[in-house]
Amino acid sequence: MSIKKFLSLRNVGVRFKRNHAAGSRFFEPLKDVNLEVFGGETLGVLGINGAGKSTLLKVMSGALKPHFGVVENHGVSVSLLALQAGFDPNLSGRDNAIFGGMLLGHSRKEIMPKLEEIKEYSELGDYFHEPVRSYSTGMAARLGFAISTTISPDVLLVDEVLSVGDANFKKKAEHTMMRKIAHGQTVVLVSHSKTMIESLCDRCVILDEGRVVSGESVEQVLEIYEEMISSR
């Protein structure tokens, strides 16, 4: 298999001004990050809360432009698996699915025939036509996941997403995800869970206070992560 670079991050830094001057004037979720994403791989990014994982995904998706360094996209489509981006609680699940699908790059014409599929997959039944405000958290997450399964970008960015809904749906979501991965979907998976990364990823790095720590193999990186956590 030829290994093709999909995304290259070079010396990427993100810095925000602090609103309340406590300690340093800036807070930097990412510092001098160098990372490559290759075609077909599943890259795991481990890190504790606040290590900059989500910021990294936002930089990769292109939504957030880094303050330093460059993000080079080698002509691929990247999209963040955002479960409830832009849900309007007053609208029905169906209407939210239409907009959500369009947001992910479908035209209105393309999304219409998929609505039934989304309804089916989300297991919402008649709730699909009720306003989202009447949904439980799990139901909304299921709808979000169902919408997002309709797309397959070149690079899929996933942020702890597989904890969707109840045990059954979680299994189904996981299975769909696995199937995509099995068929060569390039995935960047961000998680603080070792087990998730261990079972899925070909390669893995740690994000520690905005810096990337890498290692030879997934096993080695997981060991480093273990030490890192226990030393805290």
Binding site: F16, K114, T150, A182
Partner: protein, 433 residues
């Protein structure tokens, strides 16, 4: 036998073989005993007998193949295995043995083929997937290796094709015009859905969307036009000609002002440009005010015969101009609010002040010299005057005034475009800080 009494065991097995010659188990246990005694010749002998008696039951043939493999006689082993495969019926074990033979001979192509045959017949045979995964890994086909590794863990249907959307989807291919039309589609869909959302909060739903501006219209028309008219002829219609376009402007601007701030979450999770949000606000407010504009038009036709001339054709032009002007004001305000959020609180007051400076409720020409001089530089004043000229007098709007409005609008558009281009990267960052 397990107790180590080989002689006793052998004696028992001889009896067993004579009594139950049709039970393959007796033959297999006998073979095991011979194996335990390291007597390969006896083992082969027993198995050959068993094979003969049971007319080549696969269990025994397999066992014999294994024996030959152990002895290093590959050809004989393979031949026996082939026989077992032919006799196997529904059993999968001979196929597994065939694959294992290929593995032990390091004949990976053969092995791949045979394991594939195994998992094709028995999709939940985990070891088969793992073997295939390691074969693919040896071959350097990491993608297939991963696919089979995952299949071993999550089940065989993982290998089926992904149901929708092949990787490398349509987004990279979408360029230029397609992208633009998709963006517009998104704007209109969102605007429509926002209206729906707004309507869904009330019992009468869409009725309110139409009724609210119309109620305004009726109240002003009767209150000021019929009861409180300050001696101005046809004051009701005069007032509405100012108020309806003004309401359009002010609603659009006030909705736009906080639109980018409100859209931060969406912007972070998708690659929507900031301009999306004021555009949606504009379209949304326009759709909402259209019934009022139409009602004004109908009212004018019904009550005032002067309004029906060819000059009515200027109306869409004036409206388009107003729309563009409103959009630029809304966009600049929305951008300014992201920098200094406090501005959002001033929008309402500012709009009220602007209303008095735009000649909405009076004729700007009737103002005292000092103020009136400045008010005529307000493009909104001129636009409202143009509405009045067209509707009340049925005349063409003042060309110089319109040229001035066009110039102001164009300048604003350029400023707007430049500002958004310059600040493009900062809209999202600000929302996060």
């Amino acid at each position: 036998m397990r107790q180590g009494h080989c002689d006793n065991a052998e004696a028992l097995l001889v009896v067993a073989r004579e009594k139950f010659p049709k039970n393959p188990l007796t033959w297999l246990i006998s073979a095991d005993l011979a194996k335990l005694q390291n007597d390969e010749a006896a083992e082969d002998d027993i198995l050959a007998q068993g094979q003969h008696v049971l007319s080549a039951r696969w269990e025994i043939v397999c066992r014999r193949a294994e024996l030959h493999m152990r002895k290093g006689d590959v050809e004989a082993a393979e031949a026996l295995n082939q026989l077992a495969v032919q006799q196997r019926g529904d059993a999968i074990e001979p196929l597994i043995q065939a694959a294992e033979f290929a593995d032990s001979l390091k004949d990976w192509a053969q092995s791949e083929q045979r394991w594939q045959a195994v998992v094709a017949l028995k999709p939940d045979f985990t070891r088969g997937y793992l073997q295939l995964a390691s074969i693919y890994k040896l071959k350097g086909d990491l993608l297939s290796a991963r696919r089979y590794r995952l299949a071993a863990k999550y089940g065989a249907n993982l290998l089926e094709a992904v149901p929708s959307g092949a990787p490398g989807g349509n987004k990279t291919a979408a360029v230029g015009l397609t992208r633009f039309s998709h963006f517009l589609g998104l704007v209109f869909t969102k605007a429509g859905l926002n209206l729906k959302s707004e309507a869904s909060r009330t019992y009468l739903n869409y009725v309110w969307v139409v009724a609210e501006p119309l109620l305004h219209l009726v109240i002003y028309y009767y209150l000021f036009g019929q009861i409180l008219n300050a001696g101005v002829e046809n004051y009701g219609l005069f007032l509405l000609c100012g108020l309806v376009p003004w309401m359009w402007f002010s609603k659009s601007v006030s909705v736009s002002a906080s639109s980018i701030i409100g859209g931060q979450g969406l912007m972070l999770n998708s690659n929507l440009p900031a301009v999306f949000f004021p555009l949606v606000s504009m379209v949304q407010s326009t759709l909402k005010q259209l019934p009022a504009l139409a009602a004004l038009f109908v009212l004018a036709l019904l009550t005032d015969s002067k309004s029906l001339t060819w000059n009515i054709c200027y109306l869409p032009v004036i409206m388009a101009l107003q729309m563009l002007l409103t959009l630029t004001v809304g966009m600049l305000l929305a951008a300014a609010v992201t920098v200094v959020r406090d501005l959002a609180n001033l929008v309402g007051t500012g709009l009220m002040l602007l209303m008095f400076l735009s000649g909405v409720i009076y004729q700007y020409q009737s103002l005292p010299e000092g103020v009136g001089h400045w008010v005529q530089y307000n493009p909104l004043t001129l636009l409202i005057a143009a509405y009045r000229t067209i509707i009340l007098e049925g005349a063409a709007p003042d060309a110089y005034a319109m040229a001035y409005v066009i110039v102001v609008t164009l300048v604003m558009t350029v400023v707007c475009a430049a500002f958004y281009k310059w600040q493009r990267n900062n809209f999202v960052r600000r929302g996060m800080a």
